[in-house]
């Protein structure tokens, strides 16, 4: 074991520890959410996860992006098997530890990895072109300025560099009997003297492994965290019909009391349960949302399919379901970092405005479009509830509508007694 192995071990452990630390922070932020039970129906949940996350079934609704994504995703996942060898080599000082063990099979493995790497490389280049040169509209909406825009490009550039390093490393490696499918084509571009090749091979090896460790630690700061959270996010998908909005039990209790002829209106309020959560109606802050809403916000990779299908967004309204997810995540990061200290801000009003929330038609186009079943609509609904039930903040017409519903059982001002007039009129 030489000095380079010791450096490697230190960097490797450091990277894993730092990553774990950030993941723990995200988990504890997610746990700030309200309770929601998604422990039911495990069979269907596994099936949904396998189909939607692993099988990418919703990605192909847009064939070009969908197929390219599958290439990049499959490539990225499978090439990571090669990481095992790289890590063992890095720790022990061996070189291609599996080559003598696997014999002829080794070349086959590396050939597959190289083909996949080429696929990832091409995929990422096309993604980069789509985003920056073809300027697909959903990548250039109002919320995709500054950091979100750079984040996307950083991810693509890192992946392109990592794959290039991996292939160049193989091409420059003189200590393998293998002559691999893709990298052999690169040999012509490299110098021929042994020393230069050795230097290139070592540089690429280090660049690749440090790049991978760096990328791993970039994930928690990036929308790219979806590569991990897509799995739990789909597992804990809402399995109910999309039209079924949650029932507010706190309201049910009060309404039941109003309907109870035996209820004593002068009775003293029941002793408050010290263990009961103090509930607000709806959501003003991230911790008024469920943990699943919060997990969703970290799972969103800002692809914008939701917003490009949203009827409000398409007609120039302020609402963008993607922005709802991004705002929730950004506020959650801030809220979590405050550790309970009030910073005078809240998700509602400081991040998400009334005008955005009011533009929603609750049509579920966003939840349908999301490739990993995220649910911006339930966040919008919780905040609408807060606006109306806690702030009495409704457009004048909605107040009229509510009054009509209460007084005459219809959103318009028609007498309930006239409901059957249609049956006898011309």
């Amino acid at each position: 074991m030489g000095i380079s192995n010791i450096i490697f071990i230190i960097l490797f452990i450091g990277a894993v520890v730092w990553f774990a630390f950030n993941v723990k922070k995200i988990i504890s932020n997610i746990q700030l959410g309200r309770k929601v039970d998604r422990s039911d129906n495990t069979g269907l949940r596994w099936k949904t996860m396998i189909k939607v996350a692993l099988g990418q079934s919703k990605m192909t609704a847009r064939p070009v992006a969908g197929l390219l994504h599958i290439v990049v995703y499959a490539g990225f996942v499978i090439i990571n098997l090669e990481m095992l060898e790289i890590v063992i080599d890095g720790i022990s000082g061996s070189h291609r530890v599996f080559e003598p063990l696997l014999g002829g099979l080794y070349s086959a493995f590396i050939n597959v990895f190289e083909l996949l790497a080429l696929g990832v490389l091409i995929g990422c280049v096309i993604f980069f072109i789509r985003r920056n040169i073809l300027r697909i509209p959903r990548f250039h909406k109002a919320e995709m300025k500054t950091w979100p825009k750079s984040d996307a490009n950083i991810i693509l550039v890192i992946e392109i560099l990592l794959m290039t390093a991996f292939l160049t490393m193989n091409a420059a490696d003189t200590n393998t009997s293998g002559n691999f499918l893709v990298s052999s084509g690169l040999k012509g571009f490299l110098p021929i003297d042994e020393n230069s090749l050795y230097l290139i091979e070592r540089s690429c090896w280090w660049f690749h492994i440090l790049g991978v460790l760096g990328f791993l630690n970039y994930l928690p700061y990036s929308k790219h965290f979806h590569i991990l959270l897509a799995f739990p996010a789909t597992y804990y998908s809402n399995l109910l019909p999309k039209g079924q909005f949650t029932n507010m039990h706190a309201v049910t209790n009060e309404v039941k009391l109003m309907f109870d002829p035996n209820a004593d209106p002068y009775a003293a309020a029941p002793e408050p349960d010290p263990n009961a959560e103090v509930v607000r109606f709806g959501a003003k802050e991230v911790n008024d949302l469920t943990w699943k809403n919060l997990m969703d916000s970290y799972s969103c990779t800002e692809c914008g399919r939701c917003s490009s299908e949203c009827p409000a967004n398409q007609t120039g309204k302020l609402l963008s379901p993607r922005k709802i997810m991004m705002d929730t995540r950004d506020r959650l990061e801030e809220f979590g970092a405050n550790k309970g200290v009030d910073d005078g801000k809240s998700l509602l009003h400081d991040y998400i405005t009334t005008e955005e929330l009011r533009a929603c038609t609750t049509c579920n186009a966003c939840t349908q479009a999301c490739p990993i079943n995220l649910d911006p609509l339930s966040i919008i609904m919780e905040m609408r509830r807060y606006l109306i039930m806690e702030e009495s903040n409704a457009p004048q017409e909605w107040n009229g509508m509510a009054t009509n519903i209460e007084n005459n059982g219809a959103p318009w001002q028609f007498a309930q007694a006239d409901r059957l007039n249609w049956a006898t009129e011309e």
Partner: protein
């Protein structure tokens, strides 16, 4: 001439007084009760029920808003008050099965009443029509004079995406001798008409286009003569959209129930 007068529309109260139990309750809905355009859809549904020999009743003055727009606006109190009152009425009559004339009532009764204690089998009128045609209780004469006509179906969000009912309205219209054409955005990918989420009852937020105009554009692109739908609110929005494009002469907006009632010569 309206032949609806020849059909007696019985109320639950009358049925109960006569000691009768209907097979199904027809939940008319607020639009179906009060909106002049939607009342025609209500009458078409009644004609279909009557003609197919379905023993039905309505609640009449005992019906009240399901609370859907209140809930979507965020007013859960308003919604649950409505729901509890309606459940008391429905349970009082021991209602088992409901057909609605509106996808919003359909969704709310079917999905949101059970947790408040109201458990019923709820279907949308296009599902009922599909069943009646399948079981040959309802027969269309010829194909109803739709020869050479193109019909495109606009999926109401609360029927389609919200409850995965895509085939019933389409299969109900299959028997019409018209050509069914799909819009570029249809079924799961259908675009909202703009009325849902209680938008029907307020001005749209600031934007650069009205949603109903965007959607009606999709329908007009298909060259259809008839935009069919299954929701009174979609009907209003699409009708306004057609007016926006000044296509009232060429394009009609009709409910599936109206198309079927006219084809069955009811």
């Amino acid at each position: 001439m309206s032949d609806i007068e020849r059909i007696k529309v019985p109320t639950m109260a009358e049925m109960m007084a006569a000691g009768e139990i209907p097979e199904i309750l027809f939940w008319v809905g607020c639009a179906g009760s009060f909106d002049d355009r939607a009342k025609k859809i209500t009458k078409a549904i009644v004609k279909i029920l009557h003609n197919a020999g379905v023993k039905f009743a309505v609640l009449g003055a005992e019906e009240s808003c399901t609370g859907d727009p209140a809930k979507r606006a965020g007013n859960e109190f308003n919604f649950q008050m409505q729901a509890m009152m309606n459940i008391q009425v429905l349970d009082g009559y021991e209602i088992k099965k409901i057909v609605t004339g509106c996808p919003h009532c359909f969704n709310t009764l079917k999905n949101e009443y059970p947790e408040l204690g109201g458990n019923y089998e709820v279907i949308h009128h296009t599902q009922l029509i599909q069943d009646l045609i399948k079981s040959e209780k309802l027969t269309l004469k010829g194909g109803g004079g739709f020869k050479g006509k193109k019909i495109t179906f606009h999926d109401p969000c609360y029927l389609g995406r919200a409850n995965d009912v895509y085939e019933a309205p389409r299969s109900a219209m299959e028997k019409l001798d018209a050509e069914l054409v799909e819009m570029k955005r249809c079924k799961q990918n259908g675009l909202c008409c703009g009325a849902g989420g209680a938008q029907m009852f307020k001005e749209a937020e600031k934007g650069d286009k009205e949603i109903n105009v965007e959607r009606t554009g999709d329908a007009i692109d298909t060259q259809a003569n008839i935009i069919a739908t299954g929701c009174p609110f979609c009907n209003t929005m699409m009708t306004d959209g057609v007016k926006h494009f000044e296509k009232e002469a060429e394009v009609k907006v009709m409910d599936v129930a109206e198309l079927i009632a006219s084809a069955a010569d009811l």
